[in-house]
């Protein structure tokens, strides 16, 4: 039965263009695209790390995130069974301002973007080969340096295998051992079943992007190939379904935008931004693209830079041009109306 459903859906898919979205539920429109995404890792050629760390890039990413305090500080349940009674305070104007400032500082920690780094290379270093020790035991031994103050990534973890070779533990073993001796709260030793293909597919269909990304951040290191696979698939799904609002004002939007810019997939996002008339963000996005791909725009003015990008580098040229033209016309008309009002009031 499920096979039949699968094939019928595939048929339906092939008759529609990939841009048109099918409305299935009244609640949300979900594109009938299955996990046909390919995982995209940050190879390291070039290394995204140095580009990501740049201050200009970070500020651009922050602008694009569109910080909405109401969304950042929305009510969340932290797994406690009982709600806590809120604290009420009488405050003067100054005290209230101070409280807002402190909250804004907290925003920085809430919106810390998960780092973008190149994928880690598999470890293969053999320290010594001792065939004399083979058959000593039926299982391998793992030696860990558990001294305090050593970083998890630098910790010495060695494996003496059954055939006698002493080698450095591979990455999976390293993760497992580090979690055993120095556990990170709520991180599982074995990879959760949620990240397996079928389950991930189901979650993506339901639109639970934040849940996947939060848990992936918690479970893996940023240079883990599995992390990059999960995260890239999620980003591609978000991009294709235009569910940008789900990630806006969260910490994941920054790395999401960086991913899109790195892989030259910013057209959907740019279209969304222009249509919703957030020109500052459009400028920021185009600038980010230039930073990453070392593209120099001829004009200094931002609006013209957007034009240049659309002409030279965009893949959805027609749609973008149309949208941008519409925005320019609307902006022009608005300007004229405002001028008229000003003149009527005798201000200009």
């Amino acid at each position: 039965m499920s096979v039949f459903r699968h094939f019928s859906r595939k048929l339906v898919l092939n008759t529609f263009k990939s841009d048109i979205k099918l409305q299935i539920n009244t609640h949300c429109s979900v594109c009938l695209r299955f996990l046909s995404y390919q995982p995209i890792h940050y190879d390291g050629k070039p290394d995204p790390g140095p580009v990501f760390i740049k201050k200009e890039v970070q500020t651009l990413l922050r602008t694009l995130t569109r910080v909405d305090l109401a969304k950042v500080f929305k009510k969340r349940r932290f797994g406690e069974t009982q709600l806590q009674q809120p604290v009420y305070k009488f405050m003067t104007d100054e005290q209230l301002q101070e409280a807002y400032e402190e909250a804004k500082k907290k925003v920085d920690t809430f919106l810390q973007i998960p780092p973008v780094v190149a994928v880690r290379k598999p470890k293969d270093k053999v320290l010594s080969k001792d065939p004399a020790l083979q058959g000593l035991d039926t299982s391998a031994f793992v030696f860990t340096d558990i001294s305090y103050g050593v970083r998890d990534s630098e910790r010495m973890i060695l494996v003496r295998e059954t055939d006698g070779t002493l080698r450095e533990a591979d990455w999976e073993t390293r993760d497992r051992i580090n979690q055993l001796y120095f556990p990170v709260a709520q991180r599982q030793i074995q990879t959760p079943k949620m990240f397996q293909d079928s389950n991930l597919e189901d979650l993506l269909k339901r639109g639970e992007y934040n849940f996947i990304l939060d848990r992936a951040c918690l479970q893996f290191d940023p240079n883990d190939p599995l992390y990059q696979k999960i995260v890239s698939i999620t980003y591609q799904c978000v991009n294709d379904n235009n569910h940008f609002n789900e990630l806006r004002s969260t910490r994941h939007f920054g790395s999401f935008v960086f991913f899109l810019a790195w892989n030259k997939l910013i057209d959907n996002l740019l279209l969304d931004i222009i249509e919703s008339e957030h020109i500052e963000e459009a400028k920021a996005l185009v600038e980010l693209y230039s930073h990453i791909h070392q593209v120099k725009y001829e004009s200094k003015e931002n609006l013209q830079q957007i034009d240049e990008y659309i002409k030279n580098h965009a893949s959805k040229k027609a749609a973008l041009e149309l949208a941008f033209q519409a925005y320019k016309n609307a902006a022009k008309r608005k300007g004229e109306v405002e001028e008229g009002i000003k003149r009527a009031h005798g201000l200009s």
């Binding site: 305090l69 950042v72 500080f73 929305k74 009510k75 969340r76 349940r77 932290f78 009982q82 709600l83 806590q84 009674q85 809120p86 604290v87 009420y88 305070k89 009488f90 405050m91 003067t92 104007d93 100054e94 209230l96 409280a99 807002y100 909250a103 907290k106 809430f110 074995q190 079943k193």
Partner: protein, 443 residues
């Protein structure tokens, strides 16, 4: 004594002329034949308790208690509900002596013949039927209440719902529900009658949305009293402010007479942790989460009145902010302690305008300077015993068992051990299903 008698009779018998008459021998014979035994007697009477009085008086004695007896609390099981109606199952004209009464139980003319009054043989089944019927009668069975319908205790009325107040003309009390707070029998001394018995009922009514009222009603029977109270409470409704549809606007303290109540606002899901009267009132008002501590007298009417006083004296956040001249800000853990302004005054005061001894703490301000007594929670007595230490040591192996079970099922789909791979029988025992067990028993 007996032996002496015997000697006397022997000499006398020797003296008699008639030698055939030998009295002494019979006595001696009797003595030899019969062993000494006690004497029995079977008493018999011709009158008994049931014959002494007519049936009417006997029945009256069983089914009623004198007024003096009632004063002394006699005859608790004697009541109109318990008395079996002997007339049930009986028809006029049909009795123990099975007589045909033309005009009453039979037609006067049957065909062409006139029916005569005659006695038929007795019907043995009639009495049995009557007995069976009477066996089933008698014990007054109270209607079994479901837990939802139950009040504070048992089948008693306080805490129970009695529906909305009766409509007045075209006014129908939609959405209203009344609950009984108190139902008591009260007496009043009258000049001619003496003690006059009445029932007093206190009822609270509300639409679960901020409109409520309470009243008292008296009547001869509980039913009338409740009706009066319910309708009167529908006439005396008050508007009560409810914060976010579930709780009070702020903590407050109220008192009425010797009853003092400290009321605390609580978040969603907390429930009504308070005196049962306050709980009932909250249910009709529409408050779902509250904590209240009653101190002093716990007289139910006083508790109710004190609580209502507190509810209507509540101030909205805007009023508080205006009176204080400061912003009222809420800090909630669930949204990261982001300052949410609940109310702002028209003009906010500056720090210099605030006096030194002014109450700036919101909780203290709400309680008007009072502080709620927090009793120290002591650990239970057994924690100090050596046996508790031993128990904890034993529990150490078991206390994480449930979590481990959950994690195993999440990871492997079943509860297993590290040996299960090698030895598949190393799994928890599952009882064979009932059908299989039946099959096994059949085969």
């Amino acid at each position: 004594m007996a032996s002496q008698l015997l000697n006397v009779t022997r000499t006398l018998s020797k003296l008699s002329l008639n030698t055939k008459c030998r009295l002494g021998n019979t006595l001696i014979k009797l003595e030899q034949e019969l062993a000494p035994q006690p004497l029995f007697s079977n008493p018999s009477r011709n009158t008994n308790f049931f014959n002494k009085l007519p049936a009417h008086d006997l029945w009256k004695g069983i089914t009623s208690v004198s007024n003096a007896g009632k004063k002394r609390g006699r005859g608790k099981t004697v009541s109109k509900k318990n008395i079996k109606d002997l007339n049930r199952g009986q028809i006029i004209g049909v009795g123990k002596a099975n007589i045909v009464w033309p005009g009453l139980t039979a037609p006067i003319i049957r065909g062409k013949e006139i029916v005569e009054q005659q006695q038929l043989p007795e019907d043995p089944e009639r009495q049995k039927k009557l007995d069976a019927l009477r066996d089933q009668m008698g014990t007054h069975r109270y209607a079994k209440l479901s837990p939802i319908e139950r009040g504070w205790s048992g089948a008693k009325m306080p805490g129970r719902s009695i529906g909305p107040p009766d409509p007045i003309g075209e006014e129908i009390f939609t959405g209203f529900d009344s609950k009984v707070i108190e139902l008591k029998t009260v007496f009043n001394m009258k000049g001619n009658f003496g003690r006059k018995r009445r029932v007093s009922a206190t009822v609270v009514t509300g639409n679960q949305n901020g409109v409520a009222g309470f009243a008292n009603g008296k009547g001869q029977e509980p039913k009338t009293a409740l009706r009066k109270a319910k309708n009167r409470s529908g006439q005396k409704l008050m508007h009560i402010k409810i914060f976010r549809n579930h709780t009070v606007y702020h903590n407050f303290f109220t008192q009425f007479g010797a009853t003092k109540i400290f009321v605390q606002q609580k978040p969603e899901g907390y429930g009504l942790v308070c005196h049962r009267a306050i709980k009932t009132i909250c249910e009709v008002v529409g408050i779902k989460d509250l904590h209240a501590k009653v101190e002093g007298s716990t007289s139910v009417t006083h508790v109710m009145k004190a609580f209502f006083l507190g509810l209507i004296r509540q101030k909205s956040h805007e009023e508080i902010a205006e009176s204080k001249g400061l912003h009222l800000v809420e800090f909630c853990k669930e949204n990261g302690y982001f300052p949410t302004v609940l109310a702002s005054p028209a003009k906010c005061r500056s720090p210099d305008e605030i006096k030194n001894d002014e109450i700036l703490d919101f909780t203290q301000y709400c309680y008007d300077g009072r502080v709620v007594l927090k009793k120290k929670k002591h650990p239970p007595f057994y924690t100090k015993h050596k046996s508790y230490e031993i128990y904890l040591k034993k529990q150490e192996k078991l206390r994480n068992k449930e979590e481990v079970k959950m994690n195993l099922i999440a990871q492997y789909g079943e509860i297993r051990s590290f040996l299960t791979e090698k030895y598949p029988e190393c799994r928890p025992y599952k009882e064979p299903k009932k059908e299989q067990a039946e099959e096994d028993s059949n085969t």
